[in-house]
Symmetry: C2
């Protein structure tokens, strides 16, 4: 029984990184630990009672249908709701056929990799980028190319050069309140990038899980508005209702949505039918904007508080991008200080974060940066944790 | 907006068949249509009220935890329950580490293809086989090889020869009440196949969604018992509780389960946390065996009734495998009659089924066979539908 077999694992499995973040989260189950490492929405905004009420209504009115198999594309009233809700932001009337319900937007990353990446294909993505996207796409063995992120967006010349020379089938980006940097593309970057003359057939995969968690309302157009024929936008209920229910969507041109459905059918037949109906019931029974406003106000306050504490307790050589939304702050240490070394000493004092290198393909990049989550820790934990980190950085600067 | 773009779809997407079955199910939404085409569990056994009660308990006791992100491997009490429940059948004590919760067992087919199939790898599978498995694995571009299914199991010499010459990384089989044939491997086939001297490093992927829906209790050992070091067994709550909740599991050696978890993390982070807890609550609050017995008795009666009607109304040249469980009967027409031609005339009389060719890689195989579902139609529909089909077959024989 304990014989170790040689297993015929496929080549693609050699490349798939395990998530350091999910590993470190296992450490953080210790209640003594102050965690800035996670990407957890604050559970105080989980609308438990209203979800329970929605579930009760679904069971009593349509229990049998909710428990049966359903079509791959999703529960039509939910697709209609998403289409209508997103139309204002998209600047055009969306149809249900432009929406595919997903088992969390993570599934969209896997499906888009499956649809568009051959082994050796050029995949262009921000540097740093969302680790889960790197994991999902690495199964399809592309050549990854990072496009460096600066405050306000990537360098447009670098972007044009990459598009011209790489001709990537896929460009993956998170223009709103990025994970991990918290950065947002400004209007001029959005417009200049969308106007690139090197578009080839590139599909723009715009990941937008934090779009609704803005600190100030803005009218920045998404690439989904600017390039409707070639952009797939991924949305998620995880950050605004509940991540445990694993429900998201893809929005985009009908021909791509149709192909995504075929690939999804092969992956999981369809998303949880019961959960789709519970979320739909919740959406029509409640004022979503009021709920979102409460999250926005609280997260903004958390971000501002963390920044105030960093200004007080961190050496002035430490810098960061001030987020306009989302859940993260990207902090950069003075050049000679490694975030990994900081983490090692911080863990001993029960404070954790994610070193920046984990958001790059090449772990030699991002070594002096760290991702700090502000959505989940209490103010007291923020103060204590930032004090610990500040004091350690001062020590390391000596 | 209506410009048709040339899309840079990957090579693997060229091979992925769309499910004919799910397409034909869209036709069957017409209530006039008598459908033997689906693979739907009979909704009269969906325990709606008990699932609703379980959900209410989960919301009231652990609502916040149920709505948060969770670990990829699954909710530990559910994994423990599955491990303990399956231990008796497995013939050994299973640990939670040998269980991975899946978003339906379909996901296990995708993950196993991802783990073990390179482009051009030999994948050995029954002929006919489950269409969803062909779809899922085709994304990984293997060479498929069918192992012909006879009553009682494949020809053992053919199996040995295939294992010797193909050295497949993956052998995919459904030994219990197969979809689409309803066939079950007998004891001698199980033992002889497990004893093959040509095992190489082959991973045995044993799909077992119908295992609990037996018509007579049996002690047939699964390959999961006979070859524990190399078999992944896929299980599902779809046929016994609810398919709409998309919940299944993989059981197998810890090293493979660990790799599957890494691949699953990239695919959907984790399965629906709320649903895992609702299913667990349902399982501990209710007598599962009583529920299963009710399904077993009803499905057996349905199968026997359909066979009795086929004996009465079908020409004696039509043959079938009598199922010992599951939801399907595989019917074979006289050689010169094509199931596709029969379907064309049957649809005009509002009767549908799935022609056998859809369960083969090569659509020139299985052309005189059809898959008949007996779990879902009423007795009245069975009689009416079988009469229609019988009369059409008689006509075609003239």
């Amino acid at each position: 029984m304990t014989i170790t077999q040689s297993r015929p694992f496929s080549e693609r499995m050699q490349n798939m990184p395990e998530s350091f973040i999910r590993e470190i989260l296992k450490v953080s189950s210790n209640p003594e630990v102050i965690s800035f490492a996670g990407g957890l929405p604050n559970p105080k905004f989980f609308p438990v009672d209203r979800i329970a009420a929605a579930a009760e209504r679904v069971f009593s009115k349509q229990g049998t249908s909710a428990l049966q198999y359903w079509v791959t594309e999703g529960y039509l009233p939910l697709r209609d709701y998403i289409a209508q809700w997103q139309s204002a932001k998209a600047g055009r009337r969306l149809a249900a056929e432009e929406i595919l319900v997903l088992s969390g937007s993570q599934q969209g990353l896997d499906l888009m990799g499956k649809l568009f990446l051959n082994p050796g294909s050029n995949a262009l993505l921000e540097g740093p980028s969302y680790l889960g996207a790197i994991q999902a796409m690495s199964a399809y063995q592309p050549e990854f190319h990072h496009l460096k992120i600066y405050e306000g967006g990537p360098d447009v010349n670098e972007f044009n050069k990459a598009m011209k020379t790489l001709k990537p089938p896929l460009f993956y980006c998170i223009p709103n309140f990025q994970n991990p940097t918290g950065n947002t593309y400004d209007l001029s970057h959005r417009q200049a990038m969308a106007a690139t003359e090197y578009n080839n057939d590139t599909i723009w995969l715009e990941d937008n899980p934090y779009g609704e968690i803005y600190f100030e309302k803005n009218d920045l157009p998404d690439f989904f508005n600017l390039l409707p024929e070639r952009t797939i936008s991924l949305g998620s209920f995880s950050k605004i209702i509940s991540p445990g229910m694993r429900m998201g969507w893809a929005a985009g041109p009908k021909d791509i949505i149709k192909r995504m459905s075929i690939a999804k059918q092969a992956s999981d037949l369809h998303s949880n039918n019961l959960t789709q109906r519970i979320i739909y019931q919740f959406l029509i029974d409640n004022a979503l904007e009021d709920h979102l406003d409460a999250i926005r106000i609280f997260y903004k306050e958390q971000a501002n508080f963390m920044i105030a504490e960093m200004m007080q307790y961190f050496p002035p050589q430490v810098t960061w991008i001030k987020p306009k939304g989302g859940m993260f702050i990207w902090v950069t240490l003075p050049d000679h200080i490694q975030a990994n070394a900081l983490l090692k000493t911080a863990i001993e004092q029960n404070v954790i974060f994610v070193p920046g290198q984990h958001f790059f393909i090449d772990p030699k990049q991002g070594t002096t940066s760290l991702r700090m989550n502000f959505s989940n820790p209490s103010k007291n934990e923020i103060t204590k944790g930032i004090k610990v980190l500040g004091s350690l950085v001062y020590d390391m600067m000596e």
